[in-house]
C-alpha cells in the first residue's frame, strides 16, 4: 500500500492519470450506450467491463484501494459476466436496424441535456473546494472494515438478507414451468 | 355535557347501535330509529323552551360545551346555541322525527336506510349546533353523503341516477367553494382558530383588508349559494328532490338546505362586512331570479314533486332577499322563513311521498279528485299548499311579510317584484296543483286508495302542521329569540359600532319622482314619541342612484304591550 502511496505522492503524476482514466471511462461509457459500429449487446457488455475497470483506476486515485479491488472483482467479474451469460443464453441476434425512432432520440437528448446543463451550472456555481488536503485515511481497508462492523453493522446485516431474498427470487423466477 | 350534545349525539350513537341489530328485525329497527329521533326532538323542544333562562356565556351563547381537539390549529368541539340557530335546531329535530315516522314507505333494506337517516339527522343537528368552522363543515359533509346513497339506492323515477350524481357533484362543488372561502378566511384573519366566537371577536378588533374581503365573500356567497340553490345554480334541487325518497327530501329540502343560509348569516355577514355590503345589490337581483324565474318554471311542471321542489327553491329567494336587505327586520325575517320553510317543505314532501306510495305516480295529469278518497291527506295537502303561498295563520306568512318590510326600505323595486312572485305566482301554481290533484272528479282507478287512518300514520303530518300553526299564530316565540342576535350580526355587517336604539344611520333610498319637493322633516305626532317624515331625495331610478338620507329615529314607537289609545 505504501508503495502505491509514494508512487502517487508525486504532484504531477496523479493529475495526468486522472485525465487518462476519466477520458477512458467516458469513452467506454459512450461506446456502451451508442456504439456506431455494432448494435449487439455483447459489445456493450465488453465496453461496460472497460468502463468499470477505468472506474477502478479512478478509485485508486482517490485512495479507495479496497473499493477498487472490490469493484473489479465483484462488479467486473461477477455482474458483467452474468450479463454475458444471459446474453449468450438468449442468443440475441444482431439487433436488426429498426427504424430509428426519432422521437426517442430527440426526447432523450432534450431531457438529458436539460439535466446536464442544470447540474453543470450548479457545479460551476460551487465555491472552489479546499485544496486537496493530504489524505490521512489511516490504514484504508482496516479502517473501512472497522467502520463497517461498528457503525454500519445493521445495514450490513440487512444487505445480506437482501442478497438472500434476491437469490430466492431468482430461483423462483427461472423455474421451468412458470405458469 | 350540554343538552346540545345529547340532541345531536343520540341519532349518531343509535345509528352506530343499529349496525349490530340483525337485518330481519324490521320492526325493532324502525322502533329504535323513531325512538332516537323522538328523544332528540323532545330534548330540542325542552331546550327551545328553556332557552330564555339558560345560563349565557361571554359571547352570548347558551348550552355551551367546548372540548379542545387539535390545539395547534385551534379546532375544538364547540357547541352552543343563540338566537340564530335555536329555531333551526328545533325545526331540524322535529323534521328528523317526522322523517323517521314517514320512513315506513321504505320496503327493502330498511336497516341501511335507517342508519343513513340517523347519520344524516345527527350530522344536520351537529352542523347547526357547532360553533367551530371545522365541525360546522365536517358535519355538513357527514349529512351530505347519506343523501347521495339514499337517492341512489332508494330513489324513484327514471332519471334517478342522473339526479343522484347531479345533486352530489353540484353540492360537493358548492361545498368545495365554500371550503376554500372558509380556509381563506381562517388564513387571512390570522387568528389561528377555527372557533367562530373567537374569530368574530378577533376580526371585530382588526377587520380583514378590503382586498381579502372582496376575494373571500364571493367564494362564500357562491359556495353557500350553490348549497342553497341560489338562482343560476338551482338545477340540482327540483330534480334531486323529485327522485329522492320522501324522508330524504324532507330532511334535505327542509333542513340541510338551510345550512348554506345559516352559514351566510353566521359567518359571511359579520366577518366580511364591507364586501358583503357591496355584494348585496347583486344578491337582491339574483334572489329575484329565484322567486320569479323559478315560480314560472314551477307553473309548467307536470310532476307534483318537481313542482314542490321548485316551490321550495322559490322560497329560498325570500330568504336571500331578507339577507340582502342587511337590516334587523330583513335578517330576522330571513331567519324566520328558514324555520317556517323547514316545516313546510318537510310537510309537502311527506304528503307527496304518501301519495306516491299509494298511487305509484306523481304525474299531475293522472292524479285528480283525491280529496274525496284521501280525506286527511287531502286536507293536509290543501293546508300545506295554502301555507306555501303565504296564507296568514301559517309561519311562512309572518316570515315573508317581515322580509318584505325589511327589504322595502332598501330595495323597493325588487321587493315589489318579489311581492308579485310570492303572492301571485305562488298562488297560481299552488292552486293549480290543488285543483288538478285534489279537486275535480275522482278517477275510478284511485277509488280504492286508503287514507292515513291510524294515529301513528297521521302523527308526522299533524306534528308539522301544528308547528306551522304555532309559529304562525305566536311569532314572538321565535322573533324575541332571534332579534338580539340578528342585531349583533347586522351591526357588524353594517360596520357601525353603535348599539340598537341610538341614532342610527341607514342608507334608505326611495324611488320618488323628481318633481317631489321633499316633505317636511320630523313632525311629532299626537302620541308624542316619534314622527318619521323622511326627506325623500329625488333619484332617477331607485336602483342606480342611492340618495343617502339621514333618518333620525330617536326611539322606537312604544306601541308594545296593550297600550290603550283613544
Amino acid at each position: 500500500m505504501e508503495a502505491i502511496n509514494n508512487l502517487l505522492g508525486g504532484s504531477m503524476v496523479p493529475d495526468v492519470l486522472f485525465y487518462v482514466f476519466a477520458a477512458l471511462t467516458l469513452l467506454c461509457g459512450v461506446l456502451v450506450v451508442a456504439n456506431p459500429f455494432s448494435r449487439s449487446p455483447v459489445t456493450s457488455a465488453m465496453f461496460l467491463v472497460l468502463t468499470i475497470i477505468s472506474m477502478a483506476g479512478l478509485f485508486v486515485l482517490l485512495h479507495a484501494f479496497f473499493l477498487a479491488a472490490v469493484q473489479i472483482i465483484v462488479y467486473a467479474g461477477a455482474v458483467i459476466v452474468l450479463f454475458l451469460f444471459v446474453i449468450m443464453l438468449l442468443d440475441l441476434k444482431e439487433e436488426q436496424r429498426r427504424k430509428i425512432k426519432l422521437f426517442g432520440i430527440v426526447t432523450g437528448l432534450i431531457s438529458v441535456g436539460a439535466i446536464v446543463t442544470i447540474s453543470l451550472k450548479a457545479l460551476g456555481a460551487m465555491p472552489p473546494g479546499a485544496e486537496a488536503t493530504a489524505p490521512q485515511l489511516e490504514g484504508g481497508t482496516a479502517a473501512l472494515g472497522k467502520l463497517l462492523f461498528t457503525q454500519y453493522v445493521l445495514p450490513f446485516e440487512v444487505v445480506s438478507v437482501l442478497l438472500l431474498v434476491a437469490m430466492v427470487g431468482v430461483i423462483l423466477l427461472s423455474k421451468k414451468d412458470l405458469k | 355535557m350540554s343538552m346540545l350534545t345529547y340532541i345531536l349525539g343520540w341519532p349518531l350513537v343509535v345509528a352506530l347501535a343499529l349496525v349490530f341489530v340483525p337485518r330481519n328485525y324490521r320492526v325493532i329497527i324502525r322502533g329504535i330509529a323513531v325512538l332516537a329521533t323522538l328523544i332528540s326532538a323532545v330534548l330540542a323542544v325542552k331546550m327551545f323552551c328553556a332557552y330564555g333562562h339558560a345560563p349565557i356565556d361571554a359571547d352570548g351563547y347558551r348550552f355551551v360545551q367546548q372540548v379542545p381537539w387539535v390545539e395547534s390549529l385551534g379546532i375544538s368541539y364547540h357547541v352552543g346555541v343563540d338566537g340564530l340557530n335555536v329555531g333551526l335546531i328545533l325545526m331540524g329535530a322535529i323534521v328528523a322525527f317526522a322523517a323517521a315516522c314517514c320512513a315506513w314507505e321504505i320496503k327493502e333494506r330498511e336497516k341501511e336506510f335507517y342508519i343513513l337517516l340517523l347519520v344524516m339527522s345527527g350530522g344536520i343537528l351537529g352542523a347547526f349546533a357547532s360553533l367551530d368552522l371545522f365541525f360546522f363543515y365536517f358535519l355538513h359533509e357527514l349529512a351530505l353523503v347519506p343523501t347521495f346513497i339514499m337517492i341512489g339506492v332508494w330513489g324513484r323515477g327514471e332519471r334517478k341516477n342522473y339526479a343522484t350524481f347531479q345533486i352530489t357533484l353540484y353540492l360537493s362543488l358548492g361545498a368545495l367553494i365554500a371550503l376554500i372561502g372558509l380556509i381563506a378566511l381562517y388564513v387571512q384573519s390570522g387568528a389561528n382558530t377555527f372557533d367562530i366566537p373567537k374569530l368574530t371577536e378577533y376580526i371585530r378588533q382588526q377587520p380583514l383588508s378590503a382586498h381579502a374581503q372582496n376575494f373571500i365573500f364571493p367564494l362564500l356567497l357562491f359556495g353557500f349559494g350553490i348549497l342553497v340553490s341560489l338562482w343560476p345554480f338551482h338545477s340540482w334541487a327540483p330534480l334531486g328532490y323529485g327522485s329522492a325518497p320522501s324522508p330524504t327530501s324532507m330532511l334535505h329540502a327542509g333542513v340541510l338546505k338551510k345550512f348554506g343560509l345559516y352559514g351566510l348569516i353566521r359567518i359571511a355577514l359579520p366577518l366580511v362586512p364591507q364586501a358583503a355590503q357591496s355584494w348585496m345589490q347583486i344578491l337582491a337581483w339574483l334572489c329575484l331570479g329565484n322567486i320569479l324565474y323559478i315560480g314560472w318554471v314551477a307553473m309548467r311542471q307536470k310532476d307534483l314533486n318537481l313542482l314542490i321542489g321548485n316551490s321550495s327553491v322559490a322560497h329560498m329567494g325570500f330568504i336571500f332577499l331578507g339577507i340582502a336587505s342587511l337590516n334587523l327586520i330583513g335578517v330576522t325575517g330571513a331567519e324566520f322563513i328558514m324555520v317556517a320553510h323547514g316545516f313546510l317543505a318537510a310537510l309537502t314532501f311527506a304528503l307527496s311521498g304518501y301519495i306516491f306510495q299509494k298511487t305509484g305516480t306523481l304525474q299531475i295529469s293522472e292524479l285528480g279528485g283525491l280529496c274525496r278518497q284521501l280525506r286527511f291527506i287531502g286536507t293536509a295537502l290543501l293546508m300545506a299548499a295554502m301555507a306555501g303561498c303565504g296564507l296568514p295563520g301559517f309561519a311562512n306568512f309572518v316570515g315573508e311579510v317581515t322580509v318584505f318590510f325589511g327589504s322595502w326600505t332598501v330595495f323597493p323595486l325588487v321587493t315589489g317584484l318579489a311581492l308579485w312572485g310570492g303572492l301571485i305566482i305562488g298562488a297560481v301554481y299552488m292552486t293549480r296543483a290543488v285543483r288538478n290533484v285534489l279537486h275535480g272528479p275522482l278517477p275510478d282507478k284511485w277509488a280504492g286508495l286508503a287514507d292515513a287512518t291510524s294515529l301513528w300514520r297521521k302523527l308526522p303530518y299533524a306534528l308539522l302542521l301544528a308547528s306551522l300553526f304555532v309559529f304562525g299564530c305566536f311569532p314572538r316565540l321565535l322573533t324575541e329569540k332571534i332579534t338580539p342576535d340578528a342585531q349583533k350580526i347586522v351591526t357588524m355587517a353594517r360596520g357601525e359600532t353603535v348599539a340598537m336604539g341610538g341614532t342610527r344611520l341607514w342608507r334608505v333610498q326611495f324611488g320618488v319622482p323628481p318633481d317631489c319637493d321633499g316633505a317636511q322633516l320630523v313632525g311629532v305626532d299626537h302620541t308624542g314619541n316619534r314622527g318619521l317624515h323622511p326627506q325623500a331625495v329625488s333619484g332617477a331610478t331607485p336602483e342606480t342612484t342611492r340618495g343617502t338620507r339621514v333618518l333620525h329615529d330617536n326611539s322606537s314607537v312604544a306601541l308594545g304591550e296593550n297600550t290603550i289609545l283613544n
Binding site: - | P392, T402, T415, G440, G531, L565
Partner: protein, 629 residues
C-alpha cells in the same frame, strides 16, 4: 268601559267553533251545525249587549296586544271599537246568523254537512277580524283569511270541475287585489313608519302632505285591495263564477259580508285617500255599477242575475265613497246586506224546490206554489229597486243626493255620476222584475216547476225576518249612527214620520227622479216579461244583447291577455331552465371533464421509454426550480 272581554269573545267564538268541528265533531252532523250556529248567534247577542252597554262610540276606542315587534316594525293584534265596527259587527253576525240557520235546512242532505259549517265559522271569524282590525297588517291577515274561506266555500262541491275552477279563479283574482293592498301598506309604512290606523290618522291630520307625492299611488294601491275583494271593474270576473258554491254561501259571502268588506275598508282608511284617488274611485264605482247592471239584464241563471246586481250595488257604494259620501255608502251597505241576503235566500229556496234547477226560463207560476217565498222575494225586489217605503230607497237616494251635492262643487264629477246612478237604478228595477215575473208569473215552463212546493219553516223563517228588516231598515236611524261617526256631530233623533219623508226634504230632485225611473223600469219589465215564455230582448237589441249575455267577453279578454302572457313567460322560462341553465352549466362542466379525461388517456402509451422520458423531464423541472434560476 264595561265588558272589555266581550269583543274578544265575539271574535274568537267562531274560530273555536271551526276548530272544534274540524278536530272533533266532523262525524256528528247536528252537533257541529249547532256549534257553528251557536257561535254566531251568541256573537250577535253579545254584540247587542256590548252596544247597549257602551253605546255606539265606546269610551275606549282601541284594545291592542303586541303580536310582533322587530326593530321599528310593530304589528299589534288589536280591536278598534267605534260606530263603524259596531254597526258592521251587527250586520255580519245578524245576517250571518240568519244565513247559518237557513243553511241548516238548505244543506241538510249534503254529505259534507259539518265540513260546510266549519268553513262558514272560519269565514265568520275572518270577517269579524276585518271588521275589528285596528292596523293595516291585521286587516291584511284577515283579508287573506276571508279570501281563503271564500275559496274553500266556493269550491265546496269540489268534485264538480266548474266549482274547482271557480274557486281557483276567485282565489287568484283576490290575490291580485291583495298584492296591490300589501304594496300600498308597505308604501305607507315605508313613509309614515306606523301601521296603526289611529296613529296614521293623527299623522295625516297633522299634515295631509305627509305621504308626499306617493299619496295618490298609495291610496290607489290600497283601493286595489278593495277592488279585488269587492269585485270592482278590472277584477270583477270572479264574482259571477263564485255562484258555483252553495246558495247560502253566495248569500253570506257574495252578497252581505265579504264583498262589503272592500267598502268597509275604504271607509275605515278614508284618511289615506287624497282627492285625486277619490275621483278615480268614484269613476271606477260608477262604471262597475253601469257595466254590471247592463250584463244582468241578459242573464238566464237566477243566481247570476242576483250576483250581477250585487256587483252593481257595490259599484254604487264605491261611487259613494269616491264622492266622499261615507255615510251614504255605509248606509247603503247595511241595507243592501239585508235585502240582498233576502233575495239570495229566496232564490235558494226556489232552487231547492226545483231540485237544483237554476235557469229562470225553466221556472214559472210559482206564485201559488210558494207563497212565502213569493212575498219575501217581492219585498226584497222592491227594496233593491228602491221603491219608496223600502230601505233600498232611503240608502240609494242618499247616494244620489251625495252625487248631486258633489256636483255643485265639481260639476265634471258629480253630474255624470248622478246620471249613471239614476240610469243604473232604472236598469236594476228592470232586471229584478224581469226575473220576478218570469219566475213567479206566466205558465210553468218545465214539468219540475209544476210540482214545486214551499220550503220548510227553518228556511222560510229567516226569509221573513230579513224581509221585515228590508222593509223597515230605511228609517231605523242607521244613517244617524254613521252620520255621528263620520260627520262628527251627534245624531238628531227625528220622529218616525219625519224620517219617512226626510229624503224628499233634503234633496227633492234626487228622490223624485229616482222614483220615476223605478216606475219606468217596473212597467218596462211588466210589459215585456209578464207573459213571455222566452226572452224578447235579443230580438230588440240584437248584437248588444248577445254581448251582454257573454259578459262583454271580459273572461275571454283576460284569458287571451293576462293568462296567456303568464303561461307564455312560464313556457319561455321553462325552456330556458331546461336548455340553457341545465344544458349550458351542467353540459359544459360534464363535457369539459369528459374531454380532459380523454386527453389524459393518450399519455399512457405503454412504451417504457416515454415513461422514462416523462420521468426525467419531471426531474429536470424539479432540479430547475431547486438548483436553477
Amino acid at each position: 268601559m264595561k265588558y272589555e272581554l266581550l269583543p274578544w269573545l265575539i271574535l274568537f267564538l267562531p274560530l273555536v267553533a271551526a276548530g272544534g268541528i274540524t278536530l272533533f265533531t266532523l262525524r256528528y252532523r247536528t252537533v257541529s251545525a249547532l256549534l257553528s250556529i251557536g257561535a254566531i248567534v251568541t256573537g250577535f247577542v253579545l254584540s247587542l249587549i256590548f252596544i247597549n252597554a257602551n253605546g255606539w262610540q265606546p269610551a275606549v276606542g282601541e284594545i291592542s296586544k303586541n303580536w310582533l315587534s322587530i326593530g321599528t316594525l310593530h304589528i299589534d293584534f288589536g280591536l278598534k271599537l267605534d260606530a263603524l265596527s259596531m254597526m258592521m259587527l251587527l250586520v255580519v253576525t245578524g245576517v250571518g246568523g240568519a244565513i247559518h240557520i237557513y243553511s241548516f235546512g238548505y244543506m241538510h242532505e249534503d254529505s259534507g254537512f259539518s265540513r260546510f259549517f266549519a268553513f262558514m265559522s272560519l269565514f265568520t271569524f275572518s270577517m269579524l277580524g276585518i271588521v275589528l282590525a285596528n292596523n293595516f297588517i291585521e286587516m291584511f291577515i284577515f283579508w287573506e283569511l276571508v279570501g281563503v274561506s271564500s275559496y274553500l266555500l266556493i269550491g265546496f262541491w269540489f268534485e264538480k270541475p266548474s266549482a274547482g275552477d271557480a274557486a281557483k279563479k276567485a282565489f287568484i283574482v283576490n290575490r291580485l287585489g291583495d298584492f296591490g293592498f300589501l304594496l300600498g301598506i308597505l308604501m305607507i309604512w315605508g313613509i309614515l313608519g306606523s301601521l296603526n290606523f289611529s296613529v296614521l290618522q293623527g299623522q295625516l291630520s297633522q299634515n295631509s302632505l305627509a305621504l308626499g307625492a306617493m299619496s295618490t299611488i298609495a291610496g290607489l294601491l290600497v283601493f286595489c285591495g278593495a277592488v279585488g275583494k269587492s269585485a270592482q271593474f278590472p277584477l270583477h270576473v270572479w264574482l259571477p263564477d263564485a255562484m258555483e258554491g252553495p246558495t247560502p254561501v253566495s248569500a253570506l259571502i257574495h252578497a252581505a259580508t265579504m264583498v262589503a268588506a272592500g267598502v268597509y275598508m275604504l271607509c275605515r282608511i278614508f284618511f289615506v285617500l287624497n282627492p285625486e284617488a277619490l275621483h278615480v274611485i268614484a269613476y271606477i264605482g260608477g262604471f262597475t255599477a253601469l257595466l254590471a247592471a247592463l250584463i244582468a239584464v241578459q242573464q238566464d241563471d237566477i243566481k247570476r242575475i242576483i250576483a250581477y246586481s250585487t256587483l252593481s250595488q257595490l259599484g254604487y257604494m264605491v261611487m259613494a265613497v269616491g264622492l266622499s259620501g261615507q255615510t251614504a255608502a255605509m248606509f247603503h251597505l247595511t241595507t243592501h246586506a239585508f235585502f240582498k241576503a233576502l233575495l239570495f235566500l229566496s232564490a235558494g229556496s226556489v232552487i231547492i224546490a226545483l231540485h237544483h234547477e237554476q235557469n229562470i226560463w225553466k221556472m214559472g207560476s210559482l206564485k201559488q206554489k210558494m207563497p212565502v217565498t213569493f212575498w219575501t222575494f217581492l219585498v226584497g225586489a222592491l227594496a233593491l229597486s228602491g221603491m219608496w217605503p223600502f230601505s233600498g230607497f232611503f240608502s240609494k237616494d242618499s247616494i244620489l243626493a251625495q252625487a248631486l251635492e258633489q256636483g255643485h262643487q265639481l260639476p265634471w264629477l258629480g253630474y255624470p255620476l248622478f246620471i249613471t246612478g239614476v240610469l243604473v237604478a232604472g236598469l236594476t228595477t228592470f232586471y229584478i222584475f224581469r226575473l220576478f215575473f218570469v219566475v213567479f208569473f206566466g205558465k210553468e215552463k218545465s214539468e219540475i216547476a209544476s210540482h214545486a212546493h214551499e220550503s220548510p219553516a227553518v228556511m222560510t223563517l229567516p226569509l221573513v225576518v230579513l224581509a221585515i228588516f228590508s222593509f223597515i231598515g230605511g228609517y231605523l236611524g242607521i244613517a244617524g249612527v254613521y252620520h255621528g261617526l263620520f260627520a262628527g256631530e251627534t245624531e238628531k233623533s227625528a220622529g218616525l214620520a219625519a224620517a219617512l219623508f226626510e229624503p224628499f226634504i233634503n234633496s227633492p230632485l234626487a228622490a223624485a227622479l229616482g222614483l220615476c225611473v223605478v216606475a219606468i223600469g217596473f212597467f218596462a219589465a211588466f210589459s215585456l216579461y209578464a207573459k213571455a215564455d222566452k226572452d224578447p230582448l235579443p230580438v230588440i237589441l240584437g248584437p248588444l244583447a248577445t254581448a251582454m249575455k257573454n259578459k262583454f267577453y271580459f273572461d275571454e279578454l283576460y284569458e287571451a291577455t293576462v293568462i296567456r302572457l303568464h303561461d307564455f313567460i312560464a313556457a319561455v322560462m321553462d325552456w330556458i331552465d331546461r336548455w340553457l341553465v341545465e344544458g349550458l352549466c351542467i353540459g359544459l362542466v360534464r363535457g369539459g371533464t369528459d374531454l380532459t379525461g380523454r386527453a389524459l388517456r393518450l399519455v399512457q402509451t405503454g412504451n417504457l421509454q416515454t415513461y422514462a422520458f416523462l420521468f426525467v423531464l419531471g426531474v429536470a423541472v424539479v432540479m430547475y426550480f431547486v438548483l436553477g434560476k
